[in-house]
């Protein structure tokens, strides 16, 4: 069942058309990656799922139920949310940030804290840092904490808005690996927003490439998109003409060595 966007559109009160006629289904336990240039409506689309944005046309369904029928607060508590920039509560300790939702839903504070410490460990944060305030952590650590907070209520759905946006490429890569590993264990239904096509290809089972106005340029698995970019915009966006996307093999002593567009070796074809 999962999440279904049914012909949704969003025009903000000031007349900005952020999304038009978007339809898409995210099967349970799968990851949908929304990619596109800045202002292409990714955040708007994602926030329709937890009703932080109400679509002006169409509807969003979770397991077949229109989210408009559900209580906003209860809906949001049942969905993990990682905002575009951390969004931790600056006046609460890291451990209490992670425990926010369980405490709201009535878990005793003590138990919620213990669970929060375990979650911190799980996302690769030393539980000793739990006593700190968010401002005392690095950007990458804050993002991990935000992921831990999103997982704390054991939601079936995770919404992640450029969760690794504020970190350098190496840390980002590490965080992506960690997310893949977590996802392999937990099997959440994930909507992930990113402007980084490589991140979308690494993390997404299905990728939607958006252009300005929330118009879909192409939808497909990473393989499908790489194999057949729909148009010039997509070719350009995925860097189809970049050296590292234009691989070919050359024969070296009977082995097929894969080289990129510049002729640099990438690996060996098994």
């Amino acid at each position: 069942m999962g999440i279904e966007f049914r012909d949704v559109g969003k025009t903000y009160p000031d007349g900005t058309v952020a999304v038009t006629g978007f339809s898409c289904t995210v099967p349970s336990h799968r990851t949908l990656a929304l990619v596109g240039t800045s202002g292409s409506g990714k955040t708007t689309l994602m926030r329709m799922v937890n009703r932080m944005v109400e679509p002006t046309t169409g509807s969003v369904l979770i397991d077949g139920r229109d989210v408009r029928e559900l209580d906003k607060v209860a809906l949001r508590r049942s969905i993990g949310y990682v905002p575009q920039a951390g969004g931790l509560l600056p006046h609460r300790r890291v451990v209490d940030n992670v425990a926010t939702v369980p405490v709201l839903t009535g878990t005793p504070r003590r138990a919620a804290r213990d669970a929060a410490l375990a979650l911190l460990e799980r996302v690769g944060i030393d539980p000793a840092l739990g006593r700190r305030y968010p401002a005392q952590l690095s950007g990458g650590q804050q993002q991990r904490v935000a992921v831990a907070r999103a997982l704390a209520a054991e939601p079936n759905i995770l919404l992640m808005d450029e969760p690794f946006g504020a970190v350098d490429p190496i840390v980002r890569r590490g965080l992506q690996d960690q997310l893949l590993q977590l996802q392999a264990e937990l099997g959440k239904t994930i909507v992930l927003v990113t402007h980084d096509i490589d991140e979308a290809f690494r993390l997404g089972d299905e990728v939607v490439i958006l252009r300005t106005g929330g118009i879909v340029a192409q939808t497909g698995t990473p393989k499908e998109i790489v194999a057949a970019p729909a148009d010039e915009f997509v070719r350009d966006f995925i860097g189809a003409d970049r050296a590292e996307r234009a691989l070919r093999t050359v024969d070296v002593d009977g082995r097929s060595v894969v080289v990129d567009g510049d002729g640099r070796p990438v690996g060996v074809l098994e």
């Binding site: 209860a74 508590r77 905002p83 969004g87 968010p134």
Partner: protein
């Protein structure tokens, strides 16, 4: 400096302490009037300011109104109220509430508006109700500014509460008015000094409170 010395002597004179007109009694009265006025104004202004800050609505109307109230001279208002309500503490109390209102209101909505929008948005998105947002995120994050408003209002009121003695026998202002009338300038200056000292002590106390309320975002964990 002679008058100043006389005033100090007047204050330290044991005969002016104790009893219904004594300094200690009047200090307590002055403080009570101040707290009553600030508390009454806060009951009205803080919820309104928090509501405006939270919803972002009605701001222009209320700010214009508070500005208008601010422009009313307190002594004029007090005279009018005194004529309408007669001698007693009601008129000065209402005038002082009007005096405190704008600072309290401005502090409240500015404090709420100053709360980190990213944190508020994220807190809403993880499922805090509007009430929880206000009480657990916006007020703690805006406490510094809100208390700043209370501090400003208290300072204005404690100084102006002197006027309460204009139409009622209340507070330290009595020393000023009766000293002026009977040309006992040592008593008059003593009254002024006492008000100034009281204001200073209150302001320092409020400043300490304000510091203590600052979100401990950067404090090194103990």
């Amino acid at each position: 400096m002679n008058l100043f010395g006389d005033a100090l002597a007047w204050i330290t004179d044991g005969a002016h302490w104790g009893g219904p007109g004594g300094i200690d009694h009047r200090v307590v009265q002055h403080l009570l009037v101040t707290f009553a006025a600030v508390a009454l104004a806060a009951v009205l202004a803080l919820p309104l300011g928090i509501l405006i800050g939270h919803t972002g609505r009605g701001r222009l109307v209320v700010v214009a109104l508070a500005g208008a109230v601010r422009a009313v001279p307190t002594l004029g208002l007090l005279t009018l109220l005194g004529l309408a309500l007669g001698i007693g503490i009601q008129a000065p109390l209402i005038a002082l509430v009007a005096l405190a209102f704008p600072s309290l209101l401005a502090g409240a909505y500015a404090g709420i508006e100053a709360a980190d929008r990213g944190a508020v948005d994220a807190a809403r998105a993880v499922g805090m109700s509007e009430w929880q947002l206000v009480t657990r995120v916006e007020i703690p994050l805006g406490a510094d500014v809100i208390l700043g408003g209370i501090r400003a209002a208290t300072l204005q009121v404690v100084a102006t509460a002197t006027l309460a003695a204009y139409i009622s026998d209340t507070g330290l202002g009595r020393y000023l008015f009766s000293g002026l009338k009977s040309r006992q300038y040592d008593q008059m200056l003593a009254g002024a000094l006492l008000v100034a000292a009281l204001a200073l002590v209150l302001d320092l106390t409020m400043a300490a409170l304000q510091r203590a309320s600052r979100p401990t975002t950067r404090k090194v964990p103990s």
